[in-house]
């Protein structure tokens, strides 16, 4: 990793965003900062998964929310929880780690299931199929109330994770008056980012990683060399989906309850914005992108307050998403490689 202008700009921008949290908020700065960092960790993890699809392999996946959803729902349904209109309680369940592994594997498997037929499709068709599949997933989850709790969602599952909360978090939290549960989830998501990046770095420089990038650059050449391009794409789809599944689990634990409305297409677009901002094809780019993105998001409330007196939740959301939309457009037009991506590695055109 050589020190280039890109890296300096990225680090400066990220530090500046964190500084803005302190500069703009007269009180409760640490609480806001850790809230931002927790979301940044979770979404950054999801964006790393998406980057395996689009950045490394060139697969146009617009159904990322469903991978996150599968991971979250499978994991939560396997541990003790309460679900549905009556809050029906399931007291027995698997240990958290086992449930988590099954959840991640299910997300991967869902990636395989969706990928098997769809992966042969051209870029823009794959985009439509993945977004449609994600919507089917969401509609089915909402509909199958007896299993998933439907619109009423799943609650009371946090203990399975929070009972492993170590003591140093408690002491840290009591010093600064923070939310211990959230800090623990945020901590875990950043630890996961570290290990996932380590894994991807190894994979990326392995023969497998090179073959994957070759698929993105010229699929026919890969085939001519006797590699199975379709199987490579599927493996990439499964890997990215698994990472998304893990991020989905953290997202659920961060909220403390799980609702189907969480997995609307906008979630996917959030992750896309983060990936583009951080840099398509750059392994650690989305992490920086995520921090900057969430600082912007959390401070838009201030902007909304400037435009509207006593802005309500709807107007806050409106200002937020107007900015997200603008960000996606401007980045894609003027700097599609984002902060850390390489322009020559971008797949922006399919014939």
């Amino acid at each position: 990793m050589k020190l280039s202008v890109k890296w300096i700009v990225t680090v400066v921008l990220t530090s500046f965003s964190i500084y803005m949290v302190f500069a703009l908020n007269p009180e409760g700065q640490l609480r806001i900062l850790f809230n931002v960092l927790t979301f940044a960790g979770i979404y950054g993890l999801a964006a790393i998964g998406l980057n395996v699809h689009f950045g490394l392999t060139g697969l146009l996946n617009f159904g990322h929310a469903s991978f996150m959803g599968v991971g979250a729902y499978v994991t939560l349904l396997l541990i003790p929880h309460a679900a549905g209109r009556e809050g029906q309680i399931t007291e027995t369940g698997l240990p958290f780690l086992l449930a988590l592994v099954i959840g991640i594997l299910s997300a991967s498997l869902f990636g395989l299931l969706l990928g098997l037929p769809a992966i042969r499709l051209r870029g823009d068709y794959l985009a439509i199929v993945t977004i449609a599949a994600a919507e089917i997933f969401r509609l089915l989850v909402r509909d199958l109330e007896s299993v998933t709790g439907g619109v009423y969602g799943i609650i009371n599952f946090s203990d399975s994770l929070q009972k492993y909360r170590p003591n140093f978090i408690e002491t840290f939290v009591s010093k600064y008056d923070l939310n211990a549960g959230q800090i623990w989830v945020g901590f875990l998501s950043w630890v996961s980012i570290f290990f996932v990046l380590l894994l991807l770095k190894r994979l990326n420089s392995s023969p497998w990683g090179r073959a994957l990038r070759a698929v993105r650059e010229d699929e026919d050449a890969v085939r001519a060399l006797g590699k199975n391009a379709v199987w490579l794409k599927l493996q990439s789809f499964m890997l990215g989906a698994g990472i998304a599944g893990l991020a989905g689990v953290f997202l659920a634990f961060n909220y403390g309850s799980l609702q189907t409305t969480l997995f609307v297409p906008l979630l996917t677009f959030y992750v896309w914005a983060i990936m583009i901002l951080g840099g398509v094809g750059s392994l650690s780019g989305p992490v920086f992108g995520s921090v900057i993105f969430w600082v912007i998001i959390s401070e838009t409330d201030r902007l909304a307050a400037l435009i509207f007196e006593n802005a309500n939740g709807q107007q806050l959301a409106g200002v937020r998403f107007v900015l997200v939309g603008l960000l996606i457009m401007i980045l894609m037009i003027f700097r599609p490689s984002g902060l850390l991506g390489k322009k020559e590695e971008l797949l922006l055109n399919v014939k």
Partner: protein, 305 residues
Amino acid sequence: MLDQLGNGLLLGIIISVASVALSLLYGVTRIVNFAHGEVIALGAIVTLFFSAPVDSKVLFLDRFSPLGVSFSTSVIIAILFCGLFGALLELFLFRPLRKAEVGNIAVLVVTIGLSIFIRHFYLLFATGKVQDFPLGLERRQTYLFFDMTPRNFKVLIAGLVVMIIIGLFLTFTRMGKAMRAVRDSSELASVSGINSDNIILFTWISSSMLAGLAGIFQAIINDVRYNMGFLILLLIFAGTVLGGIGTSFGAMVGGLLIGIFVQVSVALPFMEGHTEAKNAVALAIMILILLFRPQGIFGEKERIS
């Protein structure tokens, strides 16, 4: 099931008009336009802004009051407004992108950003409240064997008439032929002296006007909401894909069929108590079509992998 068939025809005509618009645009410009739904909503919102009674403060914050123009005038203004909007999109966004040779994947992502941007702009200024056109209630009547209100029946007829006009236009007028020529091969078209920039501009205008009309239909049949276009966007994709991407006549039939599938599926035995999931049926059909007959019902074979 017959009740549902009537509802299906109504949903079908909305999707059908919107699908033709999307398909025309895709055929001529090769843009998969995720912001199509927002043009649809624009038609309905502008109509509401012009037609709602002046003293009703339901809309547009408290700063602007509605104009209280007659409903039919409002519809015409709204459709023209949508055409203007489409022209602006082409002139100030998509033409510069095309001249800069921005890749089609990048343009697709730009339309997604545009969609999010416009939709939440509506949320800011048109509030998230569900609103109705100022049209009053009507009693359902029986037409042939469908039950629907006279107003909805008129929408159905108007939709069919619009389809016929589009069909005649594409087949017989000089502009329509030029559009089909650019769709089939923009290079050959420009060799034969067709100015493809003008054709594309005209396509954006007509596609946006049709989308606005679809939105007005949708608002008459259902209601006005800021995200009304995005809610049916995937169904419109489904209609377009089913009929054959880039084919106008296919999109008409595909859109109608998707609308009917969605509503009739509610009456199927295994769907009992699962009406929420009815859109999933249409989306599943779309995925199956893309996998097994990607050229749709009427499209010609094209490389899609």
